[in-house]
């Protein structure tokens, strides 16, 4: 049981390039999330999904896109990388709503992205 895995661990992008951050979970969780963490700041929600085929915007969605074709995978797409997207990106998953412990989110190790 690997939990939540993310690839790559680190990436350097040039301005205007695109890339996909991969996220996979093997806990059969319904809900998945993408966060970014800037230095000295908390985690800000980019996008989330409550199940395959369903996605919704979080607090800071601009410049990103997501898809959820399977329960296990939730890739995050950056189309035109900008320096403001330099951050650490975390993917998380949870069972979902339904009471205490159902909402507890489990995080991947993160992807550090540098846009130059």
């Amino acid at each position: 049981n690997a939990g939540v895995t993310q690839t790559p661990k680190f990436r350097i992008l040039k301005i205007g390039q695109s890339m996909t951050l991969q996220c996979t979970q093997d806990m059969n969780h319904n809900y998945m999330y993408w966060y970014r963490q800037d230095p000295g700041m908390g985690l800000k929600l980019i996008y989330y999904s409550v199940g395959a085929g369903i996605t919704d915007k979080g607090e800071v969605p601009n410049g990103y896109n997501v898809s959820r074709s399977t329960t296990e995978d939730f890739p995050l797409r950056l189309e035109l990388a900008a320096p403001s997207q330099t951050s650490v990106y975390f993917c998380a998953s949870s069972y979902g709503a339904g009471g205490p412990h159902m909402e507890t989110q489990y995080f991947g190790p993160g992807t550090r992205l540098l846009v130059l």
Binding site: V4, G40, G42, L45, V50, E103, T104
Partner: protein, 112 residues
């Protein structure tokens, strides 16, 4: 608008003593609160949670207290150990919502 605030960016505690991390929130619709612990170059890991119907939850050395009237929660670690040195985030969930709201984090350093 910061709905969840951790006003202390850092805290230094001697090994064996009590560590108290604080968190304030503004949204009265929050009904579930969590603490996460984060080591460098790793993702946050779940530590302990509390529902709004309780005012205390204990798990080993970790206890979370919730004061709904003050919109304040705290995490107590007793006794503090060097391995507790990490960044601690509090997070809150609004009833019926799927999105956690995180505080900015507090860096805890346990000194030998």
């Amino acid at each position: 608008d910061q709905q969840v605030k951790q006003n202390s960016p850092s805290l230094s505690v001697q090994e064996g003593r009590i560590s108290i991390l604080n968190c304030d929130y503004t949204n009265s619709m929050f009904d579930y609160f969590l603490w996460y612990k984060k080591y460098p170059a790793e993702g946050p890991t779940f530590l302990i949670s509390i529902s709004s119907i309780k005012d205390k939850n204990e798990d080993g050395r970790f206890t979370v207290f919730l004061n709904k009237s003050a919109k304040h929660l705290s995490l107590h670690i007793v006794p503090s150990q060097p391995g507790d040195s990490a960044v601690y985030f509090c997070a809150a969930l609004e009833q019926g919502a799927q999105k956690l709201v995180f505080g900015q984090g507090t860096r805890l350093t346990i000194n030998p």
